[in-house]
Every structure is written in C-alpha cells, then in structure tokens.
C-alpha cells in the first residue's frame, strides 16, 4: 500500500480528532455519536441501525449502532484494528480505521473545542 501526502494529512487529522476527544475532561453532557470520514464529520443517531459507508468512503465498511453503542462491524482494511476495537459507548471512546480514513467516536457536549485554555 502506498501512502501519499494527502493520506498522511487525513491520518493526522483523524488522530488529532481522537486525541482531542481522549483529552477531554470528565464529561457530563449528553454524548453524541460522531462519524468522521474524509468528507468531514457527521452525527449519527443512537437508534439501532446499520450504516453502509460504501458510497461515502468507497470502501466496504459497515457501522452498526445498537443499544446505545456503536462499532465498525465490517471493514476491508488490512489488519482490522477498527473492527477489533469493538463497541464504543462512553465519552471519548473511539474506533478508528486509519487506512480507510474513518472513525466513529463518542463526543460529549460539555467541552466545546478540546482546548485546555484560551489566551486572549
């Protein structure tokens, strides 16, 4: 697999988003399920359903939402890390597929920007 500069940028962006969430303080707001792809970020419903990402990502990928949890159920990526991550449900949890540039994470409302402080 050849990695291009644009891939690296997307990978970094994906990682940053994960770090961003991981670094949040203890969250208390209502969690939101978020899907990040190359096209950007979008909110998923917590209602039980399957999302086929074939059209959106050009990859064979299925995200499953069930009982208030989400997972990457199927992916055509080589080592299946995202699938093996399993279910994500609490604030900051994330399943990330780097080769396909897809991540599902649980974002919590009380921290808006992932910043620890602002200088003004």
């Amino acid at each position: 697999m050849r990695i291009k500069a644009a891939d690296i940028i997307v990978i970094i962006l994906l990682f940053c988003s994960v770090f961003f969430i991981k670094n949040l303080f203890i969250a208390s707001g209502a969690p939101v399920l978020v899907l990040i792809t190359e096209k950007g970020e979008k909110e998923l419903s917590f209602k039980d359903q399957l999302y086929d990402l074939k059209e959106e990502t050009g990859h064979e990928m299925i995200v499953e939402v069930k009982d208030g949890k989400a997972r990457i159920k199927e992916s055509d990526c080589p080592n299946q890390i995202c699938v093996l991550t399993g279910w994500v449900s609490s604030c900051g949890d994330a399943a990330v597929c780097i080769p396909n540039k897809v991540a599902v994470y649980v974002k919590c409302e009380n921290e808006d920007d992932g910043l620890d402080a602002v200088s003004r």
């Binding site: 890390i81 920007d113 992932g114 910043l115 402080a117 602002v118 003004r120």
Partner: protein, 311 residues
C-alpha cells in the same frame, strides 16, 4: 502497519488512565481567573496568594497615584522587582513602554471607563510630565515628581501573580495544572502525558482561534486591541499606549508571547504590541520568546519559533 497498530494501542492505553481535572473560576485582578487543577486539590491557599499579591500591587499604585507632588515612598521588595522589570521593558521597547502610561490612559477613562477623549490641556500636561521626569529611585526611595504622574504595573503584574499562584500550587503538591488570568496563563506539567493545548483567540471572533499550541511548563500571554477599547469618530482607542508617540498603539490587533514565566510573557506581549514588525522580530530573538502577531490586514506572523509549538 505494525507501527500504526502500536500507535493505536498507545492511544487506547492513554485513554484508559485519564487524569481527572477540574476547572475553578473566580474574579481577581480585574478579570476572570480560571484554575485547572487535579480534583483532589484545594485552591484556598492559591486564591489567597492571588488576593494578597493583588492587594500589595494595588495599594502601592493607589498610594502613589493619589499623592501630591513631592511625596516620598518606601519601596517594598516586591515593588523594587516590579520597577526593575518595568525599566527592562522600557529598554526593550525603546521607551515606548512606560510604567507611567496610566498618567495618560487614565485621562481617556482606562482601565474601567467611562471612556472619552481628554481635554487637550489635560492631555498636554500629562504628556509633559512623563517626558520631563525620569522616575528613578535611590536607596529604595521614590519621590513623585509631578502630581499628574500615575503608575500602573497592570501590563505585567498580573503575569507575575500568576507565577506566584503556580508556585503555591506546586508547594501544595500539584504536579500539573493551569492558572489563566483572563488570557495570561501558565500551564505546568502534563495532562494525561500530553502537553496542554492552548488556543489563541481570534481578535474578531471569541469562538475562533488563530493558533493552537501545545505547551508544558510555559506561559502564554496575549495583548490585543479588542477587549479594552472605545470608538470615537471612527477611531479605535485601545488601552495600550505608545509613550513615544503618546498615542494608543495601533500597529496590530493582537500579539501573543510564549515564555518561561507568565510575568515575562505578560510584559513582553505588551512590549511587542508596541514594536514595528522588524523590531519585534529583532527583539524576540534577543529575549528568546516566540511571538505571534495578528495584523490589521489579517496576516498572522509567527516569529522566533512560534510554529514549533503548534501541532
């Protein structure tokens, strides 16, 4: 791919042992102070430190500012430090910075308002008083040479008090945290093994940042024309005055500085706010402080290694 997998594991592990931090906000030093600290830590002493120093700074300023010409003052060790710092900043800024700028800015209503333009006579008299008097002290004694002179260490005392608050936190066992006094902050230690993420506010939009940096054991301070200013006849009068031109500084929208302590970051952000671009680029080399400048034509200048803190 194996490396990627390893990286992912590290991330997941890091997530598993998340430190718990809390933010406490309160008003002091004329601004909203926010302390980020470990949940089990008491802030009582830290807040007392802030209030004590604020009182020491304010009471001397007030005594001096209210006194008639010819009054003499004993200088406390704290104020000796503050005066010396102010002379350093005056030198770096080639006299644009002056601890007596309040003699002029107070005529416009700064810092608390109501704001308006002063009468030409009052303005001329205050400007004259600053120009002609050196404000030096001998043997720890200071004499107020002219009744119109007023001093304020507001440009850097806040930063110094942030440093004192951090000292108190460390004495009480804190290994990491942030003290942020209205944008002048010191972030020490780490959060969950990573550095603290600090955003620099966009001058026109409080929800936007112009730069995000990662820091540990560093101070960041910003001086801008958007928080304390007033408009009159289409002209913006900001609270930072250039004591060479005796007019409000108007070179930039905002200037941020990264330094090893908050007093330096705070003072230098004001100093660089007064310096033209070439001189700022020169001065940040000499002081060893990364600088971020937001100009009136929306350029963002990164000087002296600012980028190396962005990620």
């Amino acid at each position: 791919m194996r490396k990627t997998a390893l990286f992912l594991c590290v991330i997941l592990l890091a997530a598993a042992c998340t430190d718990r931090f809390e933010k406490r906000q309160f008003y002091a030093m004329g601004t909203l102070v926010e302390i980020t600290h470990k949940k089990d830590m008491s802030l009582k002493q830290v807040i007392r430190t802030i209030n004590d120093y604020e009182e020491q700074v304010k009471s001397f300023e007030q005594k001096y500012n209210d006194a008639p010409a010819g009054s003499g003052f004993e200088i406390s060790p704290l104020w000796e430090v503050l005066f010396k710092k102010s002379y350093d900043y005056k030198a770096i800024s080639k006299d644009r910075f002056d601890i007596r700028a309040l003699s002029l800015t107070s005529l416009y209503g700064f810092p608390e308002g109501p704001y308006d333009l002063p009468s030409p006579e009052k303005y001329a008299a205050a400007a004259e008083a600053i120009k002609n008097k050196p404000l030096l002290f001998l043997d720890g004694k200071l004499v107020k040479e002219d009744e119109r002179l007023k001093i304020s260490a507001g440009a850097f005392a806040k930063g110094m008090i942030v440093d004192k608050a951090v000292e108190t936190m460390k004495k009480n066992g804190a290994e990491s945290g942030i003290v942020n006094a209205g944008g002048d902050l010191y972030a020490f230690g780490k959060k969950n093994k990573s550095r603290w993420r600090v955003g620099i506010r966009h001058p026109d939009d409080p929800n936007k940042v112009i730069s995000t940096i990662s820091v540990s054991d560093k101070a960041v301070a910003t001086s801008g024309d958007y928080e304390r200013f007033f408009m009159k006849n289409g002209i913006r009068y900001s609270h930072i005055f250039d004591m060479v031109t005796m007019e409000p500084a108007s070179l930039y929208r905002s200037v941020s500085v990264i330094a090893d302590n908050c007093e330096t970051a705070d003072g230098l952000s004001t100093v660089f706010f007064l310096l033209p671009e070439e001189e700022a680029a020169e001065a940040c080399k000499r002081t060893g402080t990364p600088v971020l400048i937001y100009t009136h034509d929306d350029r963002v200048l990164k000087l002296c290694g600012w980028e190396s803190f962005e990620n």
